[in-house]
Assembly symmetry: C2
Homo-oligomer: 476 residues x 2
């Protein structure tokens, strides 16, 4: 969590704490005066300038100043601004005050989290009971490194029906979450001699770090208003000197994509780009790692089918229960091309995750509970998305939401140069929210738009209204 | 599974199949005659010599020969031995017969597996229900890479009480099985610059392979009748030329041990060796990875406490629920030295295994169900061990069992040169059993004794008597 720093002539570290935003600022300023960090006579910035710096409303700062004037810590005089009052600074207390954590935001709009409060506990327990009652003894043993055959079989049916994936249980590997699957794949690609992996210009740093730890350098693909541009792959040009990102991209033989719903920007990969990347993979023998993290949640149009359907020999399809159910289950899966499956299975060594949990998910899918849950979650998230759009129209008409046809998050486009201050303002309003820049690859080229990535999946129902209000207060 | 080959003048591949040993051999020989692989007039080896070659009783071979003489496939004449009868060889069938799998052994004495039939399903479900009902919503999220605090807290209490481990929940990491924990540790040690890991002369090839894949060469420590000799660690000698295993061992800074119950040989690390290895770790800043895989199952003496207690700053204590409950749960844990914990947690990235499963184990431990289960399993395994010893005394008095004070397996010492044939004989008797040589490190030096590693944990209760009988038939 970034700690807001306000420049008050001196480099003053303000840590707001306690309930309420005005109260938090007031306490922080009072403490700074009391301990001498703000010396008597020092002139404070104008409420407008401090508000901009801290990313909060000007009124809040003005009211905070007024409180402290009333208490005698500050003085305000027409023409001379607000200054620290001339009064004896108290000696520091004998024992240091206990360290106080900066206030944790009460609400979270951090993307990538489903609404955990709506996890279908009763249904899940029912499935767990059935799984535990009917599991053969051997299910409790070490078992197939690919995971339980019951789950792999059910997944093949589900993925074909819901995502258009062409699979066969022999080539499905159950994993302990997407990250474990990605790590396994990268280790296998590294063992094959690959040293680079093309990625999108926007994505998750956790994934890039994991890829790099497996020995593959991540190379961001170019990105423009039409989305990720895969034509940089395999378009090798001879160059006299130097080696550019473009050269490295041209030579890479694997790419990680979120084709159905770019994370976090929210667009689907354009049909012509889908065709181009598959054509590249065929021509070069390359592999496409398709991160289908929230394929279940599509609202306005026909579902975007899995890219894997275009070429099961070159696409690894990766799915997860982290968004549709809960990340805590640590259940994900991959559908592997025949040429890659044996190596991945050998490298996996043993099954990644609990056999009972796998059998429970198989039961959950078979009984129809999964479909019911996804349907009801889709309705709930869609309603939240509509609430968000309506709230923006009313309170922040200049903010445009994009990437809203699917998923659990939206991207709110902000005026240039305001991203950081809006994120801070959100924090002061008690809402944890991420700026888009946090999701930009460090080596990405081109223009970076200012935006927020707003995950509307995370808040529980009872907190949703409050979260949305707090967000709107932080928006310009 | 090794396929027995009998040398009958020609190199004849005999694949016994079908129920029963005699029947299997008879079918295989008949098929060989029928298809012409054994030509008319060919003299078969004596029943004694074929029995020795196949690792089965002489009588079984003699009876099989008699059956085939009665059927007319063989002829037996005093002084001329048993020969293939002169009769028309049938032409091969138009279509090749469907491939028949070699018969899978009906019983397993492969070590490392608990009795899965006695997994306490009802108690586990009860704990799962409680866990699922009481878990806070946030437990379903991504969570702490170390795993759930509830489980880590309960584990610290349990490990202190049951194994003498000195821990603190901050330094406990829950893993998806021992192998995942070992992989994580090796990757961290590799990132620290280590390139070797000392191991015991006997252990699991799966673990050595995993260590090597993480970039650490495995170096076997010397081994004699007193067990693993750690004094090769850190005893550097200057040498004019060449680089020996001893030199590499002297330079290594990490060692993987099974101090409470050497796997598979079954002895505890001697007190003087325990002290020596800890002294080495302190002197060199080295790390000891303590694989405490079956510490719960000790029968005759006081439990051997964890080595970690001697020096929590240099010992990583690794435990697992795979032996005490079931491998299918994929639940293990490590207690890390303070100097290693942050790196391991950072490298882990996210939690390794299902939060619900972790909360279920925490509940299972808290309610006392774990202790009850371990106590009853200990009684059952101890009774099996006693059955095994009694059966050996009666049927194979020359076979000595060692490493029997603890655990789920025993080592049966065999006459020199007989290990492979006894393993094959076991197979013919329908028992999967492993020879000790399978657990020997390829670079291990010194004498290798012939022995079987008999895991008495795996068979379900109803099959135990039959398994034991079948084993005894295979013993010399």
């Amino acid at each position: 969590m970034a700690k807001p720093r306000a420049t008050l002539g001196i480099d003053l570290h303000l840590e707001p704490f306690g309930p309420g935003l005005r109260r938090g600022l007031t306490d922080a300023l009072r403490e700074a005066v009391r301990t001498g960090r703000l010396a008597p006579g020092v002139r404070l910035p104008s409420s407008r300038s401090l508000a901009a710096d801290l990313g909060m409303a000007r009124n809040t700062v003005a009211e905070s100043y007024a409180d402290l004037v009333a208490e005698g810590w500050l003085t305000a005089r027409q023409g001379s601004g607000t200054r620290v009052a001339d009064r004896a600074v108290l000696p520091p207390p004998e024992r240091p005050a206990p360290y106080r954590e900066p206030r944790r935001p009460a609400y979270s709009l951090v993307p990538g989290h489903p609404d955990l409060a709506s996890f279908p506990r009763a249904e899940w327990l029912k499935a767990a009971r059935r799984a535990l009652t009917t599991a053969p003894n051997e299910a409790l043993g070490y078992g197939d490194p690919r995971g339980r055959i019951e789950l792999r079989t059910v997944l093949v049916g589900y993925l074909s029906r819901a995502r258009g994936v062409r699979a066969d249980p022999e080539r499905v590997v159950v994993c302990a979450g997407f990250a474990q699957a990605l790590r396994l794949l990268c280790e296998v690609l590294h063992a094959r001699g690959l040293r680079t992996l093309a990625v999108e210009s926007y994505g998750l740093a956790e994934h890039w770090n994991l890829v790099e730890r497996a020995g593959l350098r991540t190379l961001p693909l170019p990105f423009d208003e039409h989305g990720t541009r895969p034509e940089a792959l395999g378009s090798h040009r001879e160059r006299a000197t130097g080696r550019t990102l473009g050269d490295d991209l041209a030579a890479t033989r694997a790419v990680l994509l979120t084709p159905a719903h770019q994370f976090p920007l929210g667009d689907a990969l354009r049909p012509s780009h889908r065709a181009a990347v598959v054509e590249w993979a065929r021509r070069t023998g390359g592999f496409i790692l398709e991160d289908d993290y929230d394929g279940e949640f599509r609202y306005d149009r026909q579902p975007v089918g899995a890219l894997q359907d275009l070429d099961p020999d070159h696409v690894v399809h990766l799915g997860t229960a982290s968004k549709s159910l809960a990340p805590g289950l640590r259940l994900a899966w991959m559908v592997l091309p025949p040429s890659l499956a044996p190596e991945v299975v050998r490298h996996a060594g043993g099954p990644a995750t609990s056999a009972l949990e796998q059998l429970t998910l198989a039961e959950f899918l078979t009984s129809g509970a999964y479909d019911r849950h996804v349907r009801s979650a889709r309705l709930r998230y869609r309603r939240r998305r509509d609430d968000l759009i309506a709230a923006l129209a009313e309170h922040a008409p200049d903010v445009r939401a994009t990437g809203i046809a699917a998923g659990l998050h939206a991207v709110l486009r902000l005026p240039p140069g305001t991203e950081q201050s809006v994120v801070r303002a959100g924090h002061w309003q008690g809402v944890a929210v991420h700026g888009l820049s946090r999701y930009r690859h460090p080596a990405a080229e081109g223009h970076h738009p200012d935006a927020l990535v707003v995950g509307y999946g995370a808040p529980p129902d009872h907190a949703w209204k409050g979260t949305l209000e707090a967000l709107c207060k932080a928006l310009p």
